[in-house]
């Protein structure tokens, strides 16, 4: 009896054609949109929409670390605060850090710690704030991916961008990027963050039940997704910072033809052989002051 129920539950999550509840295949990401530079006061910021997730990330610093005793005389601290808004989940979440957010904040801080050039900013702190406004599973990955763009937007020197995506298992099938239902009723979830250029894994967590082969497949899916995320991150930064010729012209119009006087004076000795010709403008220039 229990087995039948179990199978029915699995059938619902992914059908015999490998199509998931929201119509995705096993290796498809949900729709993702990233925007860089969305907050005015923060040194850097980014907003990400990832399926039903809406997450803001802001970066302050490098700035003097407070309280003083946490300062590291040799390098900057990278401190992340991951927070969920009380209204971001179906049952109101009690505001403030719970044990889950403390853990997520810690692993995200550590993930960025290895890419930021911390030695350039002793005694400072690079503060990353991640606010989950609307949650639909995979918020730590969405938050980390946005925070990476926010760090770049803040101009914090880094080795590379970091992107994160989870893979999991639903109905016995290893799938990329689980949504809320899949996460709740699935068999495993494995979030992972990767440094773009090197493929280093800087965040890795897993809960559920995976065999070695399933885990390997999950990692491969997440690594592949990270590549697509880098493109989205880069595009977001390009949109923020690239300018068209038209914009350049509008903001700083080409210099108006320089006044003839100084030009005459500058080129006079070359073009005009006669020293007398140089004299009148000189008189005009210095005459009044001389008087």
């Amino acid at each position: 009896m229990e087995d039948i129920e179990h199978i029915e539950k699995e059938m619902k999550l992914i059908d015999e054609n490998g199509v998931r509840l929201d119509g995705r295949k096993f290796d498809q990401l949900r729709p993702i949109r990233i925007e860089a530079g969305v907050l005015k006061r923060a040194d850097g910021s980014a907003y990400i929409e990832w399926g039903g997730n809406k997450v803001l990330a802001a970066v302050y610093g490098p700035r003097e670390a407070h309280p003083r005793h946490i300062q590291d005389p040799a390098r900057a601290l990278v401190q992340c605060r991951y927070n969920m808004a009380p209204f971001s989940v179906s049952d109101r979440k009690r505001p403030g850090p719970d044990r889950r957010s403390v853990e997520i904040s810690k692993v995200i801080s550590e993930a960025f710690s290895s890419v930021v050039f911390k030695e350039q900013f002793p005694r400072t702190s690079v503060d990353i704030f991640i606010e989950v406004l609307q949650a639909d599973a995979g918020t730590r990955c969405a938050g980390l991916t946005a925070a990476s763009v926010a760090l770049a937007d803040a101009g914090v020197p880094m080795r590379d961008l970091v992107a994160a995506c989870a893979s999991g298992k639903i109905g016995g099938v290893v799938c990329l990027d689980l949504n809320k239902e899949e996460d709740n009723f699935g068999d495993a979830d494995c979030p992972m963050a990767v440094v773009h250029g090197t493929g280093e894994i800087v965040l890795l967590q897993m809960d559920g039940h995976l065999t070695f082969d399933e885990f390997q497949k999950a990692m491969e899916l997440s690594l592949g997704a990270a590549d697509r995320l880098f493109e989205l991150q880069r595009d977001a930064l390009r949109r923020r910072y690239s300018v068209t010729l038209e914009e350049i012209l509008r903001e700083s119009p080409p210099p108006v033809a320089p006044p003839p006087e100084p030009e005459d004076r500058d080129f006079a000795p070359v073009e005009e052989p006669g020293p007398q010709d140089e004299a009148p403008p000189r008189d005009e220039d210095f005459g009044p002051e001389g008087i």
């Binding site: 853990e103 692993v107 550590e110 039940h209 070695f212």
Partner: protein, 259 residues
């Protein structure tokens, strides 16, 4: 936990030894310290175990009470894990609310036990939606010499296996042993430069750039993982760690089972 400093001399020594596949205490790189487990250490607890891994020493107590289930799991018992870094265990531990380090360890230990379905929590339901058994796992760190992730997990696993559900005292029939069905084993690795050391002691842990905990079950399947610290692992390193943790898990499991 992060304030302790390892001298450059010690760092160089540890790394040089590790390059030759050796360690300060004579172990190989893939070899855990000696584990001893003493069950039913505390009479006032429903279950308990004192676990020592080398010089790291923890006492885990299990207390049970009855209460309301969570609304999303109305017919299963509740599991709650916490860890206290008792100030006597290290000069760097201070009294006060749990630090992020302690929260992370407790949550990773909890994840291994929960996700392996070690305790059949469905058998801890008294009346659906109204009354279930609540299981508190309290890990008390007494002496800290590195790798609390594994010792904490070993102590908790052994303590759970020794637990007798106090049904009689609650007027719920006869006492019965806690339904334990699986045996997760947590194995933690520390990465020092290009080398990976299993079950790091304090100095090794201090100088590690990255940490990886893998919890496997009796089938060798992965039930929980956690990467920590600011360094990184490559895909291949992660795969090697998993394979080693499966192997070492098979050695540790009988000690936890007490056979």
């Amino acid at each position: 936990m992060s304030e302790e400093i390892v001298s450059d001399l010690m760092r160089a020594h540890i790394y040089r030894l590790a390059q030759r596949g050796e360690r300060v205490d004579g172990r190989g790189l893939d070899e855990p310290r000696k584990l001893t487990v003493e069950r039913r250490y505390v009479g006032t607890a429903e279950g308990s175990a004192r676990a020592k891994l080398g010089n790291t020493d923890v006492l885990v107590g299990i207390k049970m009470s009855t209460g309301e289930p969570y609304p999303d799991t109305p017919d299963t018992g509740v599991l709650s894990t916490s860890l206290e870094l008792v100030p006597m265990a290290s000069p760097t531990f201070e009294a006060g609310p749990p630090r992020p380090e302690a929260i992370e360890i407790a949550r990773v230990v909890d994840r291994g036990i929960r996700e392996s379905k070690m305790v059949n929590v469905e058998k801890l339901c008294i009346k659906p939606k109204e009354k279930v058994w609540i299981l508190f796992i309290d890990i008390h760190v007494l002496d800290y010499d590195g790798n609390l992730f594994d010792v904490g997990s070993y102590g908790a696993t052994a303590a759970l296996a020794s637990t007798i559900v106090p049904a009689k005292a609650q007027g719920l029939g006869e006492d019965f042993p806690l339904p334990v069905e699986h045996w997760p084993v947590s194995v933690t690795f520390a990465k020092i430069k290009d080398l990976i050391l299993l079950d790091p002691d304090l100095d090794e842990e201090r100088m590690a750039e990255a940490r990886l905990t893998v919890t496997t079950d009796e089938n060798g399947d992965i039930r929980a993982m956690q990467k920590g610290l600011s360094g990184s692992f490559s895909f291949d390193e992660v795969k090697r760690c998993i394979e080693t943790s499966q192997k070492v898990g098979r050695q540790i499991r009988p000690i936890l089972q007490g056979s």
